[in-house]
Symmetry: C2
Subunit: 385 residues, 2 copies
Amino acid sequence: MDFVVTPWEVEGLVDYEKLIKEFGTKPLTPELIEKTKELTKSELPLFLRRKFFFSHRDYDLVLKDYEEGRGFFLYTGRGPSGPMHIGHIIPFYMTRWFQEKFGVNLYIQITDDEKFIIKPEMGLNDTRRWAYENILDIAAVGFDPDRTFIFQNSEYTKIYEMAIPVSKKVTFSTARAVFGFTESSKIGIIFFPAIQAAPTFFEKKRCLIPAAIDQDPYWRIQRDIAESLGYYKTAAIHGKFFPPLTGLTGKMSASMPETAIYLTDEPEIVRRKIWKFALTGGQATVEEQREKGGNPDKCVVFKWLEMFFEPDDEKLVQRYEDCRAGRLLCGECKNYLIEKVQAFLREHQERRKQAEPLVKKVKYTGKLAREMWERSIPEELKEGS
Amino acid sequence: MDFVVTPWEVEGLVDYEKLIKEFGTKPLTPELIEKTKELTKSELPLFLRRKFFFSHRDYDLVLKDYEEGRGFFLYTGRGPSGPMHIGHIIPFYMTRWFQEKFGVNLYIQITDDEKFIIKPEMGLNDTRRWAYENILDIAAVGFDPDRTFIFQNSEYTKIYEMAIPVSKKVTFSTARAVFGFTESSKIGIIFFPAIQAAPTFFEKKRCLIPAAIDQDPYWRIQRDIAESLGYYKTAAIHGKFFPPLTGLTGKMSASMPETAIYLTDEPEIVRRKIWKFALTGGQATVEEQREKGGNPDKCVVFKWLEMFFEPDDEKLVQRYEDCRAGRLLCGECKNYLIEKVQAFLREHQERRKQAEPLVKKVKYTGKLAREMWERSIPEELKEGS
């Protein structure tokens, strides 16, 4: 093993084919991608065209459920322990596409409970503050305000009720096998798998979780017990990791600022970080580059363009060839990426500034949010005094 | 103290002394009982006069807090897995006395989550149905409807928020040491100590838990972590066990109907059970009884009278002496107890029939209940849409 993928660490250059075998998932086939195109009557987005999503569980059944009118719903989440970076937000833009095209409900769990429990230095007030900041970013993505419910576990505590039946099905040894608990694990984190699985039971439809493949083990527990609870095993569509600026291995890390572009970074910071830290596949000198060409397969700048920032397929291929042929210098590519990232952040930050009323809707007053809160308030209190 | 030399104190004395040492609690001294009388400006109730409560943790500090104006609050609970019997309800009548005389808030946790998780054969609907039935019985005791909050964990899920900080302080090995968890324990029950401790943090005052002494270990975890959370270690006042009909050892058990009188038992059932199952200290024949006398120290009938059903001290002492002297036959005592229990149940059942509106108050609309629910509903939803 020259790479390690568990929910808590991603190291080394990832062999995605190997991961599919290891995790026991299925490859996202051209047929399924074609089927998605057909059902959504839409052009395929970049992240499907370019196999950012590469693996799945029961995505075929999700499409079947949709086709036959049973529908499905989306579920994803965020652990609010710090500012969000580009690697965090891109999956939400992808999720938005699914919601838009299929017109389905989306639940977003903000795990301010889990982050508080596992971070010794953090108070619940800290993770709640980050929850507030992160939700602004997530709302800025622009989900359907009447079909989206963003909830913090420590606030939408109805989640506990739904976690109870889950928690009756999972033994300590099962949970430990997946999460690696020890004698000194806190009882809060031992319970957390039940809280995390609970939203997959929000509706009596199939749940689709778009997530990086390292999250897959969490859902194995859900899939083991779902049917005995009278629900569907959750489906998932697995994404690749958005690589850190500093290399194609590992994940962007909020604790290593040089590896990541934060959503709040100023344009000048973006320029400096990409210019200084982005690893490319270039040669040592301009002359060598002109002569031998660069290697885009080893270039983070190219990877970022491929994964998100260059939606134009022709331009991307052209860039690949120009690089290989020595017609492009790394500085040119960096500048191009810098402009793309700056433009993306400008728009994102603009939407974020205006996201307050949207946050209120997706958390409390939108159609879906209101339904979810209604479920948690006893009839006697709805009547008034 | 009128009862220092009475036989029933001497009887249990050695065992309960031992328990105090074993559990590391403190004896409830005559001084503390006297202080209670003084502060409440009331006659002492039977269960203090006769040392039904015999041990405590920090009850002295509770009285001090009360005396100096800081106040305190009461917390107790019930696991709703079946019908309640007399042994279950008597502590609630005692708790009512504390509430009445000190004028304090009382929180009653109904653990429909825990019972569901530990009973393989029960659904959440079953424990909720029992919760409904049990709460009717508890409300019938007649607590102050504006100072009492009865809540079911699966409904008042705000409890989860309060359990989160607790659950960050307790490791698996600590919880296992107290609760005896194993590899196959469900993750829900491993988390439960946090849910159970959470109400001790409902107010920034000292919490007083009236409970049988066997519950004490549960609160050790709370006492270990409370101060690090900025709260008081919970206080407790420990009761003896109300013995089963069939003997002075063990506890009444809902799963052995011959040992217990249920709150819903008809008068005729009460008569038959006591007549048939109650263990006495009588002799084999009437003649022998007249000659040698009975042994009230080994008699469940006498114990029940002593612990709850004969409030008149003089009458009780008289009965003790008459029994020893052979002037009483067991049948006479049984008939006396039968009448007392029937009268108690008649009144209790009458109040239970009318308890519906009271239940609504203590669960939802009374002053304290409303405050507790208000805390769990986000501002945005209180405003209306």
